[in-house]
C-alpha cells in the first residue's frame, strides 16, 4: 500500500491540471466576457441580428430618439430628427459603429461582469445624451443636402449639443438602407465629426498666428508683402487678394495667404510642428471613449514652399472636427480646452443614475495671454470680413477656411465660438465642396447658432 499511496499523487495531479484549465478559462472570461455578451448572436439583447436589448436613448430634453417596443427597435417619429441624429444614436444593425447603440450597447443593455445581463429580465438602462435634437435638426437642414458635419458644444460644460454628419439615411426606410448599403451615399455609415479628417485650409492660420505671437517679439509689427501671392524660394503661394505690405492683425482678418505662408517659413518646420501638436494635431482624441481619427501635421520632409503651404492649412495638413472643436474651447477658455462629451447620464430601470457625464479639462493648447490675443484676432476677422451682423444677437469670434481639394470645389469650413456667458457655444462646421468658407459655412454656422440660442432661451 505504500507504493499505492505514492501513486495517489497522480490523482491530485489530475485535479491540479483541471484547476489550471479552469483558471485559464476564468482569465479568458474576465478579459472577453463583454464582447461575448455583446455579440450579435446573443438572443437576450438581439432579435434576428437587430439590437433590441437596450433601454431608451434620449436627447438632453428627454425626447426619445430610440426605444424598444415588442422586440423591435423604434426610432423618433420625426423624419428630420431621425436623419440628423442618426450618427449620434446609431442604427439597430450596427452599421454605424460609432453610434451610441453600438458603441455603448453594453451601457444600454446594462451589462457588466458581475451581474451579467440581469437587466434583460428586470428592465434595460436608459441613456440620455447631451445633444439637443432640435439643434441637430436645424444643422441637418442648414447643410441643405451638402455632405459635411456640424459639431457644437457648450465650452463651459463640455456638453456636445449638436453632432450631425451628412449624408444620412432614414433608419425607418428600407429603400434608404438599400441605397446606403449599395454605396450610393458616400461614407453614410461614417460619422464625419469623429471619423473624417479634412484639410484645414485657412482655419490653420490660428496655429501659425499662435506660433508667431509666442516666438516673435515683433509679431504685431512685422510685415510681409502680398502681390496676389507670396514668393518663397522662387515659387509662389497664391493669395485671394492683392494686399501689399500687411501685418498680422490685418492679414488674419483678410486671411492673406502670402503673409502666413512666409511667416510659417520664417518660424521654421520645428516650431510649426511644435505648435500644431500643442493645438492637437498628431494627438489622439476621443468622445466618451469612442476614438476619433487623428489630425495630422507632418512637415519633416517638406521643402520650403511646402512648409509655406502647410502654414496656411494645405500641403498634407489634416484636421479632425472633434479635435478642432476641442481646441476651439481652449481658445474660448483661456488656453485650457474642455473635452466635449456625449453621454449625459445612464439610468437603470428603477431610475437610479449609474453614470453621469461631467466636464473634463484637456491639455493646455497655449498660454492664457496667447489665447486672448488669438481670440482678438478671431474677433477682428468677424468684424472686418464676416461681419458681426451675420450672427444676429450673438458675438461670434471665428475663422473660416477654404480647403483646396484636387480637382473639386473646395471644402468650406468655419470654426469659432460665441463670446457670451448666456450662450457659450463653440462650433465647427465643414461643408464638403461648399466653396468659400465665408459664404456657405458661415450661413450654416449662423443657423445652428440661432437654433442653439433659441433652445437655451427656453
Amino acid at each position: 500500500m505504500k507504493r499505492l499511496s505514492l501513486r495517489a499523487g497522480v490523482m491530485l495531479a489530475l485535479a491540479a491540471i483541471f484547476m489550471l484549465g479552469l483558471t485559464f478559462f476564468l482569465v479568458l472570461y474576465v478579459s472577453n466576457a463583454n464582447s461575448w455578451a455583446m455579440h450579435a448572436g446573443n438572443t437576450h439583447i438581439y432579435t434576428n441580428g437587430e439590437f433590441t436589448g437596450g433601454g431608451d436613448v434620449l436627447d438632453r430634453n428627454g425626447k426619445v430618439l430610440a426605444t424598444t417596443k415588442k422586440n423591435k427597435r423604434v426610432f423618433n417619429s420625426d423624419t428630420t430628427i431621425r436623419l440628423s441624429t442618426l450618427h449620434a444614436v446609431g442604427d439597430a444593425n450596427g452599421f454605424i459603429s460609432t453610434g451610441v447603440q453600438t458603441a455603448f450597447r453594453d451601457k444600454l443593455s446594462g451589462y457588466n461582469l458581475i451581474t451579467g445581463l440581469f437587466s434583460s429580465t428586470s428592465g434595460f438602462n436608459d441613456v440620455t445624451l447631451t445633444i439637443d435634437s432640435n439643434i441637430c435638426a436645424a444643422a441637418y437642414q442648414a447643410l441643405g443636402g451638402y455632405k459635411g458635419t456640424v459639431g457644437l458644444c457648450n465650452y463651459k460644460t463640455g456638453e456636445l449639443l449638436c453632432m450631425v454628419s451628412t449624408p444620412s439615411y432614414d433608419v425607418n426606410s428600407k429603400s434608404d438602407l438599400k441605397r446606403a448599403k449599395d454605396g450610393e451615399l458616400e461614407g453614410v455609415f461614417m460619422n464625419r465629426f469623429l471619423s473624417a479628417t479634412y484639410a484645414p485650409g485657412s482655419t490653420f492660420k490660428i496655429v501659425t498666428a499662435m506660433a508667431a505671437i509666442e516666438n516673435f517679439d515683433d509679431a504685431y509689427t512685422r510685415t510681409y508683402n502680398c502681390k496676389g501671392g507670396g514668393e518663397i524660394g522662387g515659387e509662389t503661394v497664391k493669395c485671394t487678394g492683392y494686399h501689399g505690405d500687411i501685418s498680422l492683425e490685418q492679414a488674419f482678418a483678410v486671411s492673406c495667404n502670402s503673409y502666413f505662408s512666409q511667416l510659417a517659413v520664417d518660424l521654421g518646420a520645428k516650431t510649426m510642428t511644435e505648435y500644431a501638436e500643442k493645438f492637437g494635431f498628431n494627438k489622439k482624441y476621443d468622445l466618451d471613449g469612442i476614438s476619433a481619427k487623428t489630425s495630422s501635421f507632418n512637415v519633416d520632409k517638406a521643402r520650403k514652399i511646402e512648409l509655406g503651404w502647410a502654414g496656411i492649412g494645405q500641403y498634407n495638413d489634416m484636421q479632425n472636427p472633434l479635435q478642432y472643436l476641442t481646441s476651439v474651447t481652449g481658445i474660448a477658455n483661456g488656453g485650457t480646452p474642455i473635452k466635449p462629451y456625449l453621454i449625459k447620464s445612464v439610468k437603470n430601470s428603477w431610475g437610479f443614475t449609474l453614470k453621469s457625464g461631467s466636464a473634463k479639462k484637456g491639455r493646455r493648447i497655449c498660454s492664457g495671454d496667447t489665447a486672448e490675443k488669438v481670440a482678438k484676432l478671431m474677433d477682428g476677422a468677424v468684424r472686418i470680413t464676416y461681419y458681426k451682423s451675420s450672427f444676429p444677437g450673438l458675438d461670434v469670434y471665428g475663422k473660416t477656411g477654404t480647403a483646396e481639394v484636387d480637382g473639386k470645389t473646395p471644402h468650406a469650413e468655419f470654426i469659432g465660438y460665441c463670446k457670451d456667458d448666456d450662450y457659450p457655444f463653440a462650433f465647427v462646421v465643414v461643408v464638403e465642396e461648399g466653396g468659400s468658407g465665408n459664404y456657405l459655412a458661415k450661413n450654416v454656422a449662423n443657423q445652428v447658432l440661432q437654433a442653439a440660442k433659441q433652445s437655451y432661451q427656453k
Binding site: L4, V10, A15, L22, F25, T121
Partner: protein, 549 residues
C-alpha cells in the same frame, strides 16, 4: 415580469450561490478530515532487531524501498510476499513463483492464514507476527462521529436550496407548477428517507454532493420542459436504487472477484450487440433500443470497466489478471471506434491510464502507452477526413458563430450574459440550442445560476477526486483504492471534456457531465460509479474499541 417575482429573483440569485459555496466549504471540511490509521499488526524482524507496525489491510513484504515491510537482505526478492487482512484473518501469499515463503517451517505454495506468534521465513529473513486482537472483521461503513453535524447541516442546506429553486420555477411557469412541485417533492422525500436510514454518522457526504448535482441536473431539465423533468426525476430514483445495489455488491470482495469474468463477457456481448444492431443518433451509433427504451450501452460498460479493473492485491499481482483487463479495454476501444463514439473512447482510455498507474504497473509502460495513444489520436485527427471536419471549427468558434461554432459561441454568450449571479432559474435562452441540456449544461447553469454557482458545481467533481485520493491509504483493499480513483477520474474527465468542449477550449465531443446532463443512461451510470467512490472511502478496518491502539 411581475414586481413580486422580480424581487424574489433579485434576492434568490445571490442566496443560491451563497448556499452552494457554504455547502462546498463544509464538504471540503469533511473530505479533508483525515482518519488516523490504527495499527493492525506488528512484525518483529530477526528476533526483535526491528519492529514494523502494519497499518494497511494489504501490504507488500520485500527488499524494495516501496514495500511496507522492508527487509534489507539480498536473499529477499524485491517484492516477495503479500499480506492481506481478509474476513478470516491475515493471509500470506508469495508474490511470485521464485519467492519462497515458510510459515512455522512449512513452505507456503498458494496462501497461508496467520495467527499471532507465527514465525515467517521470507528468503533469509525471519519475522514474527503479533495481530491486534481488537480487529473487527465484519465492520464496515463506519465513519468517525466528529463530522456528523457537518453532514446533517449540508443536508439541510441542500433542502433549502431545493425549496428556493422550486419556488423560482413555480413563479416562472405557474402552468407546470404541479409537476415541478411533485418531482422536486419526491426527490426531497427520497433524500430524507435515504439519509437518516444510512445515518449521518456514516460518510454520506458523498451522496449529499451527488444529490446536489442531480438537483442541478433537474433544474436544467425544468428550464427546458416539464416532461423532461419527470423523466429525469424517475432516472434519479433508478440511479439511487442502482447505487444502493452496487454498494451492497461491492462490499463483498469475494463476490466481486467471482463476477469479474462474467461481467466482462456480458459487457462485451452488449457492445457487440451495439455494434451490429445499434441505433444511429446524430452521427454516432451509440444507442440501443430494448423494448422501446433507448439507452447507451457505453455508459454502463464504463461501469463494468471500473468493476473489473482490479482485484485484491494478492490476486492482482498475477499476470493473467492484468492481461485479461487490458484485453477487455482494448476490445471496448475497438467497439467505440467502430460506432464512432470518440468522446466515450477518450474517457475509456483515460480511465485505463489511471487504473494502470494505480495498479502499480511500471510507469514506463504507462507513459509509453499514453504517448503512443496520443500520437495515434493526432494521426486520426489529421488524416481521417470525417474526423478532421469535426475539428475544423475547433479554437475558431467565433469565426463560425452561425455555423460550426454555433453551440460553443452561444454557450460563451450565455455564460457572459449570466454574469457571476445568473439571470434566475428558468430565465435562460441557451436551452433552446441543440443538445444544450447534455453537451452545454455548463453554459445553461451559468446563464441561469451564474458563474460562481457553476464553478461550485464542477468543483464537486474535483472534490470527488481528492476524496478518492485521500481514502487510498486507509482503504481495506487495493481494489477499492483503484476503483474509487478510476470512478472519480472518469467523473473529472467527463466534466473536463464537457465543460471545456462547450467553450471551445477542447473539441466538442458530446460527452455528458455526470449527474447534471440530461439522459437516463448517463444518470444511472453516474450513480453506479459513485458507489465505487463511496466504498473507497468507507471500506476500512475498524477496531472494536478505543483501548486497542
Amino acid at each position: 415580469m411581475q414586481q413580486l417575482e422580480l424581487i424574489y429573483f433579485s434576492a434568490v440569485r445571490f442566496i443560491l450561490p451563497a448556499l452552494t459555496v457554504l455547502m462546498l466549504i463544509i464538504s471540503v471540511k469533511t473530505v479533508l478530515h483525515h482518519l488516523k490509521r490504527k495499527t493492525l499488526a506488528r512484525f518483529a524482524i530477526e528476533n526483535y532487531e526491528n519492529v514494523v507496525e502494519i497499518k494497511s489491510a494489504e501490504c507488500m513484504i520485500g527488499r524494495s524501498i516501496l514495500c511496507d515491510v522492508r527487509l534489507k537482505n539480498p536473499t529477499v526478492q524485491k517484492e516477495h510476499a503479500v499480506l492481506t487482512l481478509t474476513d478470516d484473518g491475515f493471509k500470506l501469499t508469495p508474490a511470485s513463483r521464485q519467492a519462497e515463503v515458510f510459515v512455522n517451517n512449512y513452505k507456503v505454495d498458494d496462501e497461508a492464514y496467520l495467527q499471532s506468534g507465527d514465525r515467517i521465513r521470507v528468503g533469509g529473513s525471519t519475522l514474527q507476527i503479533a495481530v491486534n486482537p481488537a480487529i473487527n472483521m465484519k465492520a464496515s461503513y463506519k465513519a468517525d462521529h466528529a463530522q456528523k453535524q457537518c453532514r446533517a447541516c449540508n443536508a439541510v442546506l441542500l433542502t433549502l436550496f431545493q425549496l428556493l429553486t422550486v419556488i423560482c420555477y413555480i413563479l416562472h411557469s405557474p402552468k407546470t407548477a404541479l409537476t415541478t412541485m411533485a418531482v422536486f417533492g419526491a426527490i426531497m422525500a427520497l433524500e430524507w428517507i435515504y439519509l437518516p436510514i444510512r445515518g449521518f454518522k456514516s460518510n454520506v457526504g458523498v451522496e449529499i454532493m451527488a444529490f446536489f448535482l442531480t438537483t442541478v441536473g433537474l433544474c436544467v431539465s425544468a428550464s427546458k420542459s416539464s416532461e423532461l423533468l419527470i423523466k429525469q426525476g424517475i432516472f434519479f430514483a433508478a440511479g439511487l436504487l442502482a447505487f444502493i445495489f452496487m454498494g451492497l455488491l461491492l462490499s463483498h470482495l469475494n463476490a466481486v472477484d467471482k463476477l469479474r469474468i462474467p461481467v466482462m463477457v456480458l459487457a462485451l456481448l452488449l457492445f457487440f450487440y451495439n455494434c451490429f444492431f445499434g441505433t444511429v443518433v446524430y452521427g454516432a451509433k451509440n444507442w440501443v433500443s430494448v423494448f422501446g427504451f433507448l439507452f447507451q450501452p457505453s455508459e454502463f460498460i464504463k461501469v463494468a470497466l471500473v468493476f473489473v479493473s482490479a482485484s485484491a492485491l494478492d490476486k492482482m499481482l498475477k499476470m493473467k489478471n492484468l492481461i485479461t483487463f487490458l484485453g477487455f479495454v482494448f476490445i471496448c476501444l475497438l467497439c467505440l471506434a467502430y460506432i464512432r463514439d470518440f468522446g466515450a473512447a477518450a474517457i475509456y482510455f483515460a480511465a485505463m491510464m489511471v487504473i494502470l498507474c494505480l495498479r502499480l504497473c511500471d510507469l514506463k509502460i504507462v507513459l509509453g502507452l499514453g504517448g503512443a495513444a496520443l500520437a495515434g489520436c493526432l494521426f486520426i485527427i489529421r488524416f481521417i477526413p470525417y474526423i478532421t471536419d469535426r475539428f475544423a471549427t475547433y479554437l475558431h468558434a467565433w469565426d463560425y458563430a452561425s455555423s460550426g461554432g454555433y453551440q460553443q459561441t452561444q454557450t460563451m454568450m450565455s455564460i457572459a450574459s449570466g454574469g457571476l449571479f445568473g439571470l434566475g432559474p428558468g430565465n435562460g435562452n441557451l436551452n433552446r440550442v441543440f443538445a444544450a441540456d447534455t453537451d452545454l449544461v455548463f453554459g445553461v447553469i451559468s446563464e441561469e445560476f451564474g458563474l460562481l454557482f457553476s464553478l461550485c458545481v464542477v468543483l464537486c467533481f474535483v472534490l470527488y477526486v481528492v476524496y478518492a485520493s485521500v481514502s487510498i491509504p486507509r482503504t481495506r483493499s487495493i481494489y477499492y483504492a483503484v476503483t474509487a480513483s478510476a470512478a472519480s477520474a472518469i467523473f473529472l474527465f467527463q466534466t473536463t471534456l464537457n465543460l471545456f468542449g462547450s467553450v471551445d477550449l477542447l473539441p466538442l465531443t458530446g460527452v455528458t457531465m455526470p449527474f447534471v446532463s440530461n439522459g437516463g443512461s448517463s444518470m444511472i451510470a453516474a450513480w453506479m460509479l459513485l458507489a465505487f467512490i463511496k466504498l473507497g472511502g468507507s471500506q476500512y478496518v475498524v477496531l472494536r474499541s478505543k483501548e486497542a491502539s
